[in-house]
């Protein structure tokens, strides 16, 4: 399946500054697995925030579908 991954804020470093990439992933891939396929292990990233599928926050283990947009955010502080 084809998924678009957007990396927000400091996470964009994993795409060398490119904010967005379209990737081919096996069906039934979770957000965690999709990020791992791009070289991002969220557990190793101190400031990893959250993920959203189609602009709606989900859990890291939630499953992606073909055509989905996955956003990964860093933590952000302030107000």
């Amino acid at each position: 399946m084809v998924v678009t991954i957007l990396l927000k804020g400091s996470l964009a470093k994993f795409f060398n500054g490119e904010k967005e990439k379209t990737v081919d992933l096996p069906d039934g891939c979770s957000c965690e697995e999709a990020l791992l396929a791009c070289g991002i292990d969220w557990k190793q990233e101190k400031n990893f925030g959250f993920v959203a599928i189609n602009s709606k926050r989900v859990m890291i283990c939630d499953i992606l579908r073909d055509g989905d947009e996955l956003k990964a955010y860093p933590k952000i502080s302030g107000g």
Partner: protein, 586 residues
């Protein structure tokens, strides 16, 4: 300890006299400075049940040992008093350049007591203080006031001033500096207005000495480059707090139409990309490494901002998605000297009251032109503004609609929806100054983090405690919130380098908890207890309709559970009271 001037300026406005006295250094050892030390002074010096608008209330301007050094992001000023909006202790943190001016004038703090016999302004020029007539300034907006004073005293002077809202004792009145920075919440501008003080001008030609200053400076530069200037902090330089919009919308915590829902599909119309296309410059505060201020000229608005809170309050929460209108409302609120969060919430509440037919305030969701007018009416207490100036608590007590009047203790709700982040309802409830997002910033753990479930009370007491301690320390040094990656170990190193004494992370934790306790003890003495740590009816009775938190509401039992957890961790009793054994240590 070094880093302090060891001098507090005490100004008696009633007699127009001033003295300076040594800093209570024993208190500084326990509270460090800024927030914590300001609250300690007020705890010791204010009698319980003092009327916030009386001459007996005090306005405390407090710096910290880091102020005036090159520790990055150390240039903020704590201003504290007893709040006329809530009756609690209330401290705010204002940016700009006044903190450093006050420190360089030779003071750790300036405490204003009494009341001027007629409207005036105070000029602190190093060791001299002058009391000047403000008849020519009274009634003017904060922007015109600052313009006139900086023409007279120069751009190097720090200027703190109030707009009409403060003059008219509106409980949402703020204190302004550098035109677009505020000590926003709790009505500190009204306290200043009640003392007939239109402005405080500070000129400081001195400096701050610390041990091994050259070596320490090199270390501060190293820390700035390695820690402060990383993208997790510098995003505020790039896009200010507009960055929160998308995260809050995706996270399902963006207030919509007076907190009736928590997403807005129109967010792209007023997001950072749109607003920042009109960026005309960048600015930060004294000693800042980040520079969060975005100076915008958009439509007929000129404003440094708008920040996330203001965007949400004048945007989705008011049913508006016009970026020019949002920026203009921000500019007007700044000039009137009104807190954008509280003013925005009152207007949104009034919109719902009108639409539901509970009381006709003559404004509905989406009416941006009218809300700009209403901000001016509120500041002047004219027409419908006279009722809205009461705040959501006062106005709902008068007209009904209390179930959807979102506040705690009379301080209106910041722009994070707790039904999408349950711990935030606890953070708002137990915050020292009423509903405040800066005491414990729960979304950082529950929403902007992939691991802690947001829709449960479990573990929230510990989470809010940890966040509250962290910020209590940070704002007592003080360092700006936007240096987000600053950890407690490094806070200890900074304080050690500046004071020349060794502070550990354990010391920091002890200070943080002590600050929380003394603020609570102050409020307790005023009669506050568990009954005042509340959750608005809407959050318990109504479920969110959209976003990841659709269907969520917070059961009262879950809220009470979170309160119990928090009290337990701090050693307070089931009524949220600090025991005498802890008060004795404060």
């Amino acid at each position: 300890m070094q880093g302090y001037q060891n001098s507090v300026l005490r100004v008696d406005l009633s007699s127009k006299e001033y003295t300076s006295e040594p800093l209570q250094m024993e208190w500084a050892r326990k509270y460090i400075g800024s927030k914590g030390l300001a609250i300690k002074y007020l705890y010791e010096e204010l009698a319980p049940k003092t009327d916030p608008f009386s001459a007996e209330n005090k306005l405390v301007l407090m710096t910290g040992p880091l102020t005036g050094t090159v520790v990055p992001c150390s240039g903020k000023l704590a201003i504290a008093s007893k709040s006329p909006a809530t009756g609690t202790i209330s401290d705010a943190s204002i940016g700009g350049h006044s903190a450093v001016r006050l420190k360089y004038a030779g003071y750790d703090a300036a405490i204003f007591e009494g009341k001027l016999p007629a409207p005036g302004y105070v000029v602190i020029r190093n060791d001299k203080v002058e009391f000047k007539d403000a008849a020519h300034l009274w009634g003017k907006g904060a922007h015109e006031t600052e313009g006139l004073l900086s023409a007279e005293y120069g751009h190097g002077a720090g200027i703190l001033c109030i707009g009409p809202a403060g003059e008219n004792l509106v409980g949402m009145a703020c204190i302004n500096s550098d035109y677009y920075r505020q000590a926003g919440r709790g009505g500190l501008g009204a306290v200043m207005g009640s003392k007939n003080v239109k402005a405080i001008v500070v000129i400081g030609d001195g400096g701050v000495k610390i041990p091994n200053i050259e070596k320490a400076t090199r270390r501060f530069i190293e820390i700035m480059k390695e820690d402060c200037l990383q993208e997790d902090n510098t995003f505020v330089y790039d896009c200010g707090t507009t960055a929160f919009l998308e995260a809050c919308n995706d996270g399902g915590i963006l207030p919509y139409k007076n907190f009736s829902d928590a997403t807005d599909e129109n967010w792209v119309k007023y997001n950072g990309d749109v607003l920042l296309a009109s960026k005309a410059g960048k600015r930060g505060c004294a000693s800042c490494a980040l520079g969060c201020g975005n100076f915008l000229k958009i439509g007929d608005a000129t404003v440094e901002g708008p920040e996330y809170e203001s965007i949400s309050a004048f945007g989705p929460n008011a049913g508006v998605s016009d970026p020019e209108a949002i920026a203009k409302a921000n500019e007007i609120a700044d000039d009137m000297g009104l807190d954008t969060i509280s003013a925005g919430d009152v207007i949104s509440w009034a919109m719902e009251m009108t639409e539901k037919g509970v009381h006709d305030f003559g404004i509905k969701f989406g009416d941006a032109a009218k809300y700009q007018e209403y901000l001016k009416l509120m500041a002047k207490r004219e027409g419908v503004g006279a009722d809205l100036a009461l705040g959501v608590k006062g106005a709902s007590e008068k007209y009904g609609g209390e179930g959807f009047a979102l506040h705690v203790k009379g301080l209106e709700y910041p722009q994070y929806e707790p039904r999408g982040s349950w711990g935030m309802s606890l953070a708002y409830a137990v915050s020292d100054r009423g509903a405040c997002h800066m005491r414990a910033y729960a979304p950082n753990e529950e929403v902007f983090a992939a691991s802690i479930p947001p829709y449960t009370p479990e573990g929230k007491g510990q989470m809010v405690y940890g966040l509250a301690v962290h910020n209590a320390i940070k704002f007592s040094l003080c360092v700006c919130d936007f240096w987000a990656t600053l950890e407690k170990g490094m806070m200890a190193e900074l304080v050690s380098l500046v004071t020349g004494e060794e502070w550990t992370e354990e010391d920091m934790n002890a200070v943080g908890e002590r600050v929380i306790n003394i603020a609570r003890a102050f409020n307790q003495r005023e009669g506050f207890s568990r009954k005042d740590d509340t959750i608005p009816g809407r959050l318990v009775a109504e479920a969110l309709k959209s976003g990841p938190a659709a269907g969520q509401k917070i059961p009262q039992e879950a809220f009470e559970d979170m309160l119990d957890q928090y009290y337990g961790i701090l050693g307070w009793d089931e009524n949220g009271m600090v025991p005498g054994s802890i008060i004795d240590t404060l």
